[in-house]
Amino acid sequence: MQRFLDLILAFKEYVALTIFVALSLVMIALNQATDVQPLRAFTTAVVGSLQSTTSWIPNPFALARENKELRSQAIELASEVGRLRRAKVENSELRKLLGIANRPEWKLLPAEVVGKTTNFERNMVTLSRGSADGIMKDMAVVTDAGLIGKVYSTSQNFALVEMLFNRDFRASAKVARTRVEGIVAWDGGPTLVMRNVPKALDAKVGDLVSTSEYSAFFPSDVPIGTILRLEPEPNSLFRRITLDPIVNLFRVEHAYVVLKDVALERERLSLEQRARDDAAKQLIKK
């Protein structure tokens, strides 16, 4: 036994390395496990409280760039608001003529951004609202311009939001003009990438890409970005579409959480389940 202990002590660096590497690999594998969520909620509360005390300090390197971008965006937005107002009136009148009801409005919860981590590895924002306000993991977060991301974890008073510029971000999306579907993800740079779009389908530079009806997390028709480039993927029937995000993620100060009506969703699921059970019973009877 003593010789064994001596051996371990003689190679303690290697023993420690082996144990720690094994532990790290296990943790990486369990990263998305639900058991980790209470830990995430705890850190969201701690980091949220700390960040809310320093949120007023600006990044001096980013201020000049932000100012310039804001001015040009303000001019663009002013003309777009006018166009959109006219379009809204037209849309409402046309819907009345066609007898189509207006789409139900989402239940939005406004929240202030109290913390931001915008570096290469984690692009996240901390919101001033949490589970006490009805926010839950995976709820969509938007601004008036478009999609920001989804809720990653919550504490009582804070919510940590995973932005579009995040390795884990995926969204089912469509080209608004032609309804061509694809999956949007982050490519690691200042742009997003839309995959699984067949080469034969219609998409052009400048087209708006928004969330599709098939997304499990995001409501449909929320703008994500505009098409910057279309490139064929080698040895594939698909093409790679590069998107310029609509929202400047590094400048978000206010956001809205799209609240899911859990009771309604539960009721819908139970009705669907009941319908499936009835159909199965009828099949068995036959």
């Binding site: 660096e13 390395l17 532990l23 850190t43 980091v47 300090i57 915008t118 590895e121 490519d187």
Partner: protein, 160 residues
Amino acid sequence: MKYLIYAAIGLVLIIVQVLVSRIISIAGASPDFVLIFIVWLTVREGQFAGVVSGFALGLVLDIFSSGILGAHALSKTIACFLLGFFFDADMSEQRIRNWPFLVMTLGTAIVNNALYFFIYTRGSEISFGEFAFRYGALGALYTTVIAIIPLLYFMRKRAF
């Protein structure tokens, strides 16, 4: 007692890292204060202390930065283990107070960032090479520049 002080310094640096990285980030890259500290610790205390502190502080950083749990822990453990081969008890004080400290910080930061981004880009649309070059190299350089501050402090301490 000495190790408790090290742990306290490490925790303070993690809080600084989480809070300050947004304010001082340049082109998306921010300095790794925790890495500078564990490089200093490894040069001063040796490979074993480096491996233990790399894992422990890396894990706490993973928890507080809401990153991939275990990614910082793994990259910092391996980076400090490799750095530990350059440990020399007789030369440690001299290295901390001279330019070799910066070289060691740069080397460790490059290894750490390469490992971290390797884990980070797995299973995503992000290209490892491009991402590691764009942010890993910039982050390693930024960390080395910030390491000049403790270097100057220790050089000044020797002068008096």
